[in-house]
Symmetry: C2
Subunit: 569 residues, 2 copies
């Protein structure tokens, strides 16, 4: 037994023997658990084992350290071993790997990464917070010098050094998700020419494809080259000391630096070896108190499966917020408090070169994958604040909701400003199982710099409520190519002339009341304008005149996004 | 009878006689009602009577037109008569005053402001949206040239002209509420030297005084002179063609321009004369469908009393968001739809010279006024995003919650960034009667530029939950002067030396575990740090060691605000 285990076999301070809680992993969930547990129970002994050199570092800040936006590495150290010791009386052992769990005897085997010494540690409660590791596909060349993942401070230190030493000017980022996009921003910030290679035909996999097009266009306009719908085949060493990223299509992308940001997978080796059950998504199975199948072992963070609050289905969601909450819940459970992790809803945001992309809840493709069919959606493109105040930027917003009860299922938003605020509000409504009617009635901050008398959130709710009430039937964009409906564009002629859906006919809203008789009374009308508002007005008029009319939700703006994403011809 | 009334006595278009809906007031609530009603019912005749020259203008933008931030007056015109006619088939008559309601015969008397012609109009349904008028106290000099209120576009046009013609360099703004502060910003923007005269000893009356100090300090630092706790006595014409604002204290404030922004009062003359009941707050009494005591008359907007969702008590809340929603509800009710106005919660925001002030729900003084005693509060000062990412700005946040159930009662926030987002999230939780536990568990957008793994909203909820659980008893700041508790400051010595609560003793958290024996075991401890976090950690340790300890919530930062607002010595 190790020195520490022995020292604890004798109860200290003449009180009842303190319980001994060991935590494996000292970032996010693990650090949160340690700090919370200490606040709840002064008597328990807490030891944190962290494989890396740092405890509680800001892993979400790593890309910005590469970009030199965060210039001082020390900024990333949220807490130190010393702070854990003096502030929380928590013993943190960095560069110490936990190699084995002996569940029967409640012992873990640990190895000091510096000395190589091994030992065992006794626990009353064990918390696993191993996190998730970047996926490193078993492809030729992924271990070549100059190919990096982004998980730890040493990782980013190596990238910084490589850029400096190699005077790198070209980077390929493999993977267009959160980390990939944050790396794009920061490599552009370092003036590298950046190419993104993404296997899916879109960036940001959590979004529906048509919502990702604004992002693609934005990156394209900023000089980022996008190579979508093409996977990584291998990486070759070029002649001049550079790298060639070879795509599955055969495309060859030269680079001085390659970032692998394909995703992460739960680090479950330790749990698996110990015989703890893993779930269908590959994460450690836990209950609502974050306890594994072993009553003495808890698990938190990126490595566990947790229920999605919408579907109740288990999911793996590698995000810092939920990890922190889970760490707190585990601490509360260990301290004997009533507690419960409420599940996750996948609220997330990423900023890329001035654009913000945020989402919460389910995507349309996620709903379809899950077999959910009773839902509807609206698109809108409101300004992020009142239009009469200068500087309003459009927010492209998609709201998914259940039919007929109107429960909010998910939302996605893209824009230059005010984006994550709207997603946060919708996420909060979803937390309460709110409906689109609740969004319509939300009373939010309004002054002209901040919002509108009808905030984008209100408008989204109102549009959806119109759909539910039958006041604004929506057309399926996906059926546009096949329908025999007349596509009616109610914008003004100059707008129509500047671009329109190929089959559309033009009859401006301003003339509709006097000219509606020109429309074929027996044909269904798919009505379209720039963003959907005038089409809605037209539909209200037309349906009351006996026409069958549907809104092409989001109007020509959404059409362009759908076309760009290949979802409509 | 007028031409219009006559023309409608003959049913048009060979269908059942359309109902005739008249709307008095064409801004916010009235305009909203007209547009919504048309969408719901194509057959009804809708006429809007607006006393002023403009329909549906952006009254919330008026201060910014004075400041030339909105340079083109036409930007303020959200909709025109023409647009109402072509888009909605709504007949808008501007510069037309409604002078009388004959409820028995369902007639209103109208006067054309240009021709002076009078007439009567028949209604099936009448909607009153008269708004609220700036309070103009009956004091000497309030009608002098150069003294202005800010309600209409012509008002602001006159202010702009006056500034230009008089080459005004000094302004006194009477009233430090929303409009007053927005005028301060815009007059400073026009390079005028601005003095604020406010009768209360604080700016922004909806806030609690200690939350307004950050605002006062910010304005002071930007050169705005504040004359608080002193009312307006009269305004005199000075010798040089200037004005002298004389305060109740006798102070004489010279000015080239005076803005009266003392508040507004519901425009209820028409309703009152018609015998419609007014409520205790002076507004028109309506039901949840916005219907007055007369089954043919609805009322919406700043002139009505509506229930506060927290207290259920009727209140008058002159805000554009609720006015718009009320207009919609009235339209839905008139169209025979099931509808209900859910009440108001007083969510509001104002931006002043780079600072954002926002609030929702009740203030502490409001709760005390209402006789509510079972509540508690926490103060916090988190960064608006993760501290490791450059540029985090503090948000000063106060959360009020019910004891013991934790229901959120209100929140106030002040800071340079991310302020209204947090208030919007808390407002949304309040809409669902959420608790502080819900805030602790909220899953919000996190990337380092946008928030933190524990968002300020989460932290507020966690702190409040700690109070409810008894883990962090809070001390009453108001009792600090009288208590015999020991004030313990757990910051580091250099922080303590830079300023502290007069009676405080210093024992840093980093030394607490080794030195706590120095503390008197029989005395209560009021524990303080910079913002409250370290004090919380100390309290958790101390209470588990048998001490009685309470947190001076918000720490020395809140102490300074309380001292500045005179709430503690």
């Amino acid at each position: 037994m190790s020195r520490h285990a022995l020292s604890q076999s004798t109860p200290a301070r003449g009180v009842a023997a303190p319980r001994r809680v060991l935590i494996v992993g000292g970032v996010a969930g693990g650090a949160s658990c340690a700090a919370r547990l200490r606040r709840l129970d002064e008597s328990v002994e807490i030891v944190v084992f962290e494989r890396g050199p740092h405890v509680s570092f800001a892993n979400c800040g790593l890309p910005y350290y590469v970009g030199n936006v965060i210039a001082d590495e020390r900024s990333l150290l949220v807490a130190s071993r010393e702070m854990f010791r003096t502030r929380f009386n928590v013993d943190v052992r960095t560069e110490t790997e936990v190699t084995h769990i002996d569940r029967r005897r409640r012992l873990i085997s640990v190895r000091d990464g510096r000395s190589g010494n091994e030992g065992v540690e006794r626990y009353d409660a064990l918390v696993l917070s191993p996190g998730a590791a970047p996926v490193r596909p078993p492809l030729p060349g992924v271990d070549l010098p100059g190919v990096f993942a982004v998980r730890t401070i040493p990782d980013t230190r190596r990238i910084r050094s490589w850029i400096a030493e190699q005077q790198a000017t070209r980077a390929v980022v493999v993977g267009g998700g959160f980390i990939g996009l944050e790396m794009v921003e920061n490599l552009v910030q370092r003036t590298l020419a950046v190419t993104v290679l993404e296997k899916l035909p879109q960036l940001m996999p959590p979004l529906d494809p048509e919502m990702a097009t604004a992002l693609s266009e934005h990156l394209g306009a900023r000089g980022v080259r996008l190579h979508l719908g093409d996977g990584l085949a291998q990486i070759e060493a070029g002649d001049g000391g550079d790298l060639i990223v070879v795509a599955e299509s055969g495309a060859r992308l030269p680079a001085d630096l390659v970032i692998l940001a394909i995703g992460v997978k739960p680090e479950t080796a330790l749990a698996k070896t110990a015989g703890l059950p893993l779930g269908p998504r590959g994460g450690i199975v836990v209950d609502a108190q974050m306890r594994t199948a072993d009553p003495h072992i808890w698990a938190v963070g990126d490595a566990v499966e947790v229920p999605d609050i919408l579907t109740g289905q288990e999911t793996v969601l590698p995000l810092a917020g939920p990890a922190n909450r889970q760490g707190r819940v585990a601490a509360e459970a260990i301290a004997g408090r009533a507690t419960r992790f409420r599940g996750v809803q996948a609220t997330a945001v990423v900023g890329v070169l001035g654009l913000t992309v945020a989402s919460t809840g389910a995507s349309e493709k996620g709903l379809r994958r899950a077999g959910v069919e009773q839902f509807e959606k609206v698109y809108l493109h409101p300004g992020h604040h009142a239009g009469y105040y200068p500087g309003a930027q459009p927010i492209h917003l998609k709201l998914l909701f259940s039919v007929p009860d109107g429960r909010i299922l998910g939302a996605q938003a893209v824009g230059a400003a005010g984006v994550e605020k709207r997603i946060d509000v919708i996420a909060t409504a979803m937390q309460f199982r709110g409906t689109v009617h609740d969004l319509a009635e939300a009373e939010l901050c309004y002054a002209p710099q901040y919002g509108a008398a009808k905030d984008p959130v209100n408008v989204a709710g109102m549009l959806a409520a119109n759909v539910l009430a039958g006041d604004m039937p929506v057309a399926a964009w996906s059926g546009l190519a096949r329908t025999d409906a007349v596509v009616l564009d109610v914008r003004e002629p100059d707008e129509f002339a500047a671009g329109h859906i190929p089959r559309a006919i033009n009859l401006p809203l301003s003339q509709l009341r006097s000219r509606y008789g020109e429309l074929p009374p027996d044909r269904e009308l798919y009505v379209c304008c720039e963003v959907g508002q005038r089409a809605y007005y037209a539909i209200r008029f037309l349906t009351q005149r006996g026409y069958r009319a549907r809104n092409l939700s989001g109007g020509y703006t959404t059409y362009k996004a759908l076309r760009a994403s290949g979802l409509t011809p």
